[in-house]
């Protein structure tokens, strides 16, 4: 890790704590920061503010942290392994694939056991990833940023059409899922969190373990082979990590687009090309980013709450366009 990285990590953690506190303080009723702190360290059941903080706001802030970290790390891995600046679980269709399977299972087969949700999401993400890469690799010229993004966009459009179709055929079952499908942190049950957590932690650990090899891979397959990296194995494991992280994020919050695109690029600007630094910094930055975005989602059109996923798209899409202009 670079000097700046070591120096920056405490600053990032401070930013995370600040954003976390702010996120809890903001809402229909503003809770002062010191009360937030009190509720966390000296919980008083009779204090209404304390109840609001621990029962409603704290879980939501925790979701934001987890989902932001998971998506950012997934994006970082994808960009490193594919050497594609536009790679991201959302752009390449993994989020839609994961949510498609979840929607179908919940809507059609009444799967409500939260234990299965991350598993189903992982299944969807894995199949979509295989499809998108398969198509892009089979195209003349191989998996370029263009073919990957196009294949991702096509699969997204295709699955979205099927989700709309299912929604039309069975309004009642699917109405419940509509808000979730835009990517939201509101009103999620803690059961899902419990079952998603193992996936998330596993994915993050795997990402950290792979970081050194991914740094070599980001310099090109041949260079990596020359440096003694088992390219096929690292790619496979990286993909596993991406799928686990995507599955956990989707299970908690639905498809939250462009988080994985923006954060790794920012992380790279801060700490350079070493993925041993990029991965942890992306995780923290992703958490901060989603906390701030979620605050914005609740405040901009207050009292109406905009889905967090809409706000990440509003912020991420221009960034995508800028990347296309600057980097391709």
């Amino acid at each position: 890790m670079t000097k700046a990285g070591w120096f920056g990590l405490p600053a990032l953690l401070a930013a995370l704590i600040l954003a976390f506190g702010w996120h809890i303080a903001v809402g229909a009723k503003t809770v002062p920061l010191h009360v937030v702190l009190e509720a966390l360290v000296a919980y008083d059941k009779s204090n209404f503010d304390h109840v609001v903080v621990t029962d409603l706001r704290l879980p939501r802030a925790v979701y934001a942290v987890l989902v932001g970290a998971a998506l950012a790390v997934a994006g970082a891995l994808m960009q490193g392994v594919t050497r594609n600046p536009l790679a991201e679980p959302g752009v390449l269709g993994l989020l839609t694939g994961a949510s498609f399977v979840v929607v179908m299972a919940v809507g059609y087969f009444q799967v409500i056991d939260p234990a299965f949700i991350p598993l189903l999401a992982a299944l969807g993400a894995a199949v979509t990833a295989a499809l998108v890469w398969g198509i892009a690799a089979a195209a003349p010229g191989g998996s370029t940023p263009l073919t990957l993004v196009l294949a991702g966009a096509a699969i997204t459009g295709f699955l979205a059409a099927f989700i709309s179709l299912a929604h039309l055929l069975d309004q009642e079952s699917f109405d419940r899922l509509r808000v979730w499908l835009t990517g939201t942190l509101a009103g999620r049950s803690t059961d899902v969190l419990f079952w998603a957590l193992p996936w998330l932690i596993g994915g993050l650990l795997l990402a950290l373990l792979l970081a050194r090899q991914v740094t070599a891979l980001a310099m090109g397959d041949e260079t990596a082979v020359g440096l003694g990296v088992d390219v096929a194995r690292v790619k496979m494991l990286a993909m596993l990590s991406v799928i686990a992280l995507t599955a956990a994020a989707v299970a908690i919050a639905g498809p939250m687009a462009f988080v994985g695109l923006v954060i790794p690029h920012v992380a790279r600007i801060i700490v350079g090309a070493d993925y041993r630094a990029i991965v942890p910094v992306s995780a923290v930055l992703g958490a901060v980013y989603l906390l701030v975005v979620d605050i914005a989602a609740r405040m901009v059109l207050a009292p109406i709450e905009v889905s967090t996923g809409i706000v990440t798209a509003l912020l991420g899409a221009p960034f995508f366009v800028w990347l296309v202009r600057a980097r391709l």
């Binding site: 993004v149 294949a151 059409a161 099927f162 179709l165 059109l301 889905s307 899409a317 202009r325």
Partner: protein
């Protein structure tokens, strides 16, 4: 390849036509009429072929047939065909001008721009007269098209690839704004807008028929004028200049025409995806021909596609009606993927 040269009036007018393409055009027309008739016959109140004929000629078998056919099915059939033709033509022109086989109004943000304009109108000004919709859609689409052009074209080289990717990014951004608009809006209006966004033709009536017919009438001279220039433009900008094409004016004119075609179709039936992408390719596979005839074939193919999508959507899960936009996406995406796989040189992307 048999080419027919028609030179009436002492060669003052002369046209080159491919015989095979003419045959295919005739077949497409027959198929379109077939689908239209089937579409007139079927629904919750089924009519026989005879019944349809009798009603159209003015002596319906039952009173209700008159209403069902004239007020609902007939406008719907016409609108789906015309809108399909407009989408197809829009995509074909875009593909010729950008020399990009993957260009499509719904893929490069034009449909989304038109969609956002109309959704904003539905949500913010629910009382607005339908007449304004095509103009709003056109304005929205034009702004987005200009935005994408200005972003994608500022640096040299690889411009068509950047054009497509920029379009995808801008489309995602506009979709997010549209979603915000839906969240912000009143639930009833949001529902109406949502239904319209899915690309549905079930709500159309005679006003849409007239507005689309008017649009087609206005744009047809432009289309005829454009065919000649498109045939030169498809050889690339520098060759076109060498052949004497006023390139800047021609490009701006064509893209505006393409945007207008898509916008008017979107205003009537919502942003149907992939028709503009698939119809031109399908038309070319059916019969190889010059640009003018290719446009004709594309229009017929697009009309047939949307007509068929609407028809299937109406009967497949009856009484639930599936919006045509869902079906065009489900049918269009595999073709799109096939195109990615088959495009011969990535240099053209």
């Amino acid at each position: 390849m048999s080419v027919l040269v028609l030179s009436p009036w002492n060669g003052r007018i002369s046209l080159r036509l491919h015989r095979h393409a003419l045959v295919v055009a005739a077949l497409l027309l027959v198929a379109l009429i077939g689908v239209s008739v089937a579409s007139l016959m079927s629904g919750s109140y089924p009519l026989s072929l005879r019944g349809v004929w009798q009603t159209l000629t003015g002596n319906p078998p039952e009173e209700i047939a008159q209403t069902v056919l004239w007020e609902f099915r007939f406008p719907r059939t016409i609108v789906s065909a015309v809108a399909g033709a407009l989408f197809g033509l829009s995509g074909a022109i875009l593909q010729y001008v950008t020399r990009n086989p993957l260009a499509d109004p719904s893929l490069v943000g034009v449909s989304q721009g038109a969609g956002l304009a109309v959704v904003s109108a539905i949500v913010l000004f629910p009382e607005m007269n339908l007449v304004w919709r095509p103009l709003l859609a056109f304005a929205g689409a034009l702004i987005v098209a200009a935005l994408i052009q200005s972003i994608a074209m500022q640096r040299t080289g690889g411009a068509t690839m950047r054009f497509i990717l920029t379009g995808i990014g801008v489309a995602a951004f506009i979709a997010a704004i549209t979603n915000t608009m839906l969240t912000y809006g009143d639930i009833d209006q949001a529902q109406a807008a949502l239904g319209w966004l899915a690309g549905s033709i079930h709500a159309v009536g005679w006003p849409e028929v007239w507005s689309l017919t008017l649009c087609l009438a206005i744009l047809t001279p432009g289309l005829i004028w454009s065919a000649r220039y498109l045939s030169a433009l498809r050889l690339g900008p520098e060759v076109s200049i060498g052949l004497g094409v006023p390139i800047r004016a021609a490009r701006i004119g064509m893209i505006t025409l393409s945007v207008a075609l898509a916008a008017f179709a979107v205003a009537a039936v919502g942003p149907l995806g992939f028709v503009g992408l698939v119809a031109p390719h399908l038309a070319r596979r059916l019969a190889y021909s010059g640009v003018g005839q290719h446009l004709l074939l594309t229009a017929l193919t697009g009309a047939l596609m949307v007509g068929l999508a609407d028809f299937i959507g109406r009967i497949a899960f009856a009484p639930v009606q599936i919006p045509a936009g869902i079906l065009t996406a489900i049918l269009g995406v595999p073709v799109f993927l096939l195109l990615i796989l088959k495009t011969q040189s990535t240099r053209q992307l």
